[in-house]
Symmetry: C2
């Protein structure tokens, strides 16, 4: 029984009521529809089921809802300002026609006896698994059967955590995409959060910044079972070099670790940095790769991704990881939407691939513009060449202060780097996923602000 | 490095190679594309990461791949037999046009500036959440914000397990859909599997059969934190009465337990059995409901479902369960495909709903035909009136023997009840999800076999 009302605090012990701040499904990453609304709910009874201690450990102030709150406050303060959002890394350009038509035709055919399909394989349609292997792993001999189609890499990261269980130790790049740490905490792999360091206990934070060419000092890195590694990196926009990844694979081999390599931004690589961890010889014995159609084909809302688990990868007892991942996929998932899979297949046709790449080029050009602008202002800027993110440094400043400053004076939303871990302090992530005119306007305003 | 070859066993200790039976992504539930293929792989090196002990506990012989193996053997033995599959509960009828057209139009519009959408809310589009609340929970005051749209109930069950963690105790109906127990085992809630009883330790099996009107003897049921309860039930096809569900809610309240109520087959109810646990007064303080568009709208491949977590439901410390579920959905999921959601919305328009219900009526008629046939043969048959499954009892027989008998003599695939737990022994599940002519032909063959 919930009643919305305010009750004097002194009544609490008498009424045995619980006074809770119930967060009404706040807008998180890419929730344009969400509205943040706090209200008080009084709960008159509760179960005897204990709250999961791991969820209690999670930080309550999640990055993206916090940004949305700042955004809302700003809109209230400046209702006429033309706010530009270069915060959330969400795609904005329409999907090429060849792909949307394929999905539309597949959907339409579901009304016909010939075109109707029920359950598909949990691991994905054979044709799509084959096309992914051939398109992205042609020269590194990934088998179709090692490709598991999914509804996106964030979901696959959670499934990989279910696979690994609570007894593994984990290392992450610092800064990094929050899902690695959050899912580790949910699975019970992490210790408590330490306010002072801004870190969870029992998680190895591998600092990556300009001082070490955005690559961890492996000699000083504690051995862990799992190493999450994202390249090109979100948020820093830095793509690890071949030599760096060779070092990483060597390190994992020496330690008997498993690398979970996130290549969601691989298609943005312009130089000869590896697009897959499997370009590194021997990586199949120590790595899993998660990837996605989201930033590659604008499928953030369509939902499609994949994970490669090589047959060679084994647990300490020699049991193949792929067998357990297959079991997780079949038990905790039921395959990606067949319509999204039809779209994925269209992306990997020669015509579709060219069309998709032209959109990627568009975002790349945006990143170049942002990079050039910020550099021209004398700022220390990184990323933007092999990734749709620019990573700007403001030495000595708190990133939330810089965020507020840019928002207040230029009406531009960015992301404070500290939201990606303590190693992101002093930095701002600026997303290149926007329409050209927006990027140019944002550049103009940033010039006005910093010059 | 993997080499496919056979190596004499005596060489193993010398070579320090590991000889593994690698299962090549066998066909599981509704994997029509899968082919079962065993091969030997020799692994020359492995990591130091320990295999998750919970995954080690899972049974290797999963029900549906085993059925597929029998099916394949049968096809080899009788290449000319016209095999009828009433095993896997997969929908076969095309989706009504109004729905496929909506999805096609949504997909097509993704190529336009106006129609393009990136990330949606992780919890689902507002319009769809509202439509679900209004269509299925009109009289029980479920709020839009309590509805979380998902990619299907199996996936939501796994996410609910992530929410609950490893320290809860669990009860399941016996027999029941395998995902409840399997995800409990994966999360570490279960003890070891006991071959003799056919049960996992630490899981409470609530036997449901004709002897207790398919409702557990609650007076003899051990208190657990979580009670998985599916009604109309898969596999028994039995829908719990209002009185039975009132008893269940009372039992949960007395024990401070949380019911996870699976209403995936609710639309098949024809009598006045509740279609939602929330029809029972007070259920919102003790229950979560998972449900799906799969069997309601033929969306088994499109992938769409939902979960209702009432605001009133709290952990023992008074913390609202909905807050933690929201966090899980935002961290481990990224929303259902926007195209599937457009289809869901079309299903819930008045015209769409009528069209979908006429497909449900078709499957209902199938179930009636099967029920009548088996009853006319003097068999003990249950279900089939409020569910698309018929549950036939063969006293004194092993269900795998009956399965083999029906397959061998009638060329009809069914599901042996023992696959759903020890309480399913002696029973067979027969699915009504088929074309009418298939159902009629199967009925004819079963008549020939059993009369």
């Amino acid at each position: 029984m919930a009643m919305k009302m305010v009750v004097p605090f002194f009544l609490f012990p008498i009424l045995r009521l619980h006074f809770l701040l119930l967060h009404d499904h706040s807008p998180l990453i890419g929730n344009p529809e969400g509205t943040t609304c706090y209200h008080f709910v009084i709960i008159a009874c509760h179960t005897r089921v204990q709250r999961n201690v791991n969820l209690e450990k999670l930080r309550t102030g999640y990055l993206f809802p916090e940004i949305s709150m700042h955004e809302l406050q700003h809109i209230r303060k400046y209702p006429d300002a033309k706010l530009i959002n270069l915060g959330i890394g969400d795609t904005t350009k329409p999907i090429p026609e060849i792909i949307s038509v394929s999905m539309a035709e597949y959907a339409r055919a579901l009304s016909t006896v010939e075109g109707y399909r029920g359950y598909g394989a949990e691991q994905g349609n054979k044709a799509l698994r084959k096309a992914i292997a051939e398109t992205f792993y042609k020269n590194v001999q990934v088998k179709d059967s090692e490709v598991f189609v999914s509804d996106g890499s964030q979901c696959d990261i959670a499934r990989l955590q279910l696979l690994l269980g609570s007894n593994v130790t984990v290392a992450v790049q610092d800064p990094s995409f929050p899902a690695y740490i959050d899912t580790s905490v949910i699975m019970g792999q992490a210790g408590d959060f330490e306010e002072k360091s801004g870190k969870f206990g029992n998680i190895e934070y591998m600092k990556c910044g300009p001082q070490n060419n955005f690559f961890p000092e492996l000699a000083k890195t504690r051995r862990t079972d799992i190493i999450f590694f994202c390249s090109p990196n979100n948020p820093t926009g830095y793509a690890a070099t071949r030599q760096q990844l060779e070092e990483l694979v060597k390190f994992a081999k020496a330690n008997g670790s498993i690398i979970i390599f996130d290549s969601a931004y691989a298609v943005y690589v312009t130089d000869d940095s590896p697009r897959s961890i499997f370009e590194i010889p021997g990586a199949k014995e120590v790595a899993i790769e998660v990837s996605s159609f989201s930033k590659f084909a604008g499928f953030t809302g369509v939902r499609l991704g994949w994970t490669v688990v090589p047959e060679e990868l084994c647990f300490s007892n020699g049991f193949p990881v792929i067998n357990d991942f297959n079991r997780i996929v079949c038990t905790c998932f039921n395959g990606a939407s067949n319509i999204a899979q039809a779209g994925g297949l269209a992306c990997l046709s020669s015509e579709g691939f060219m069309a998709v790449c032209s959109v990627v080029d568009y975002y790349r050009e945006n990143a170049k513009i942002l990079l050039k602008t910020l550099k021209s202002l004398g700022l220390k800027v990184y990323g933007g060449e092999n990734a749709p993110y620019v990573w700007a440094q403001f030495p000595g400043s708190k990133s939330w202060d810089v965020f507020d400053d840019i928002l207040e004076k230029a009406h531009v939303i960015t992301v404070p780097g500290s939201g990606f871990g303590p190693g992101g302090e002093e930095f701002m992530r600026i997303s290149a996923f926007g329409h050209r005119e927006t990027i140019l306007e944002a550049s103009k305003r940033l010039k006005g602000l910093f010059s």
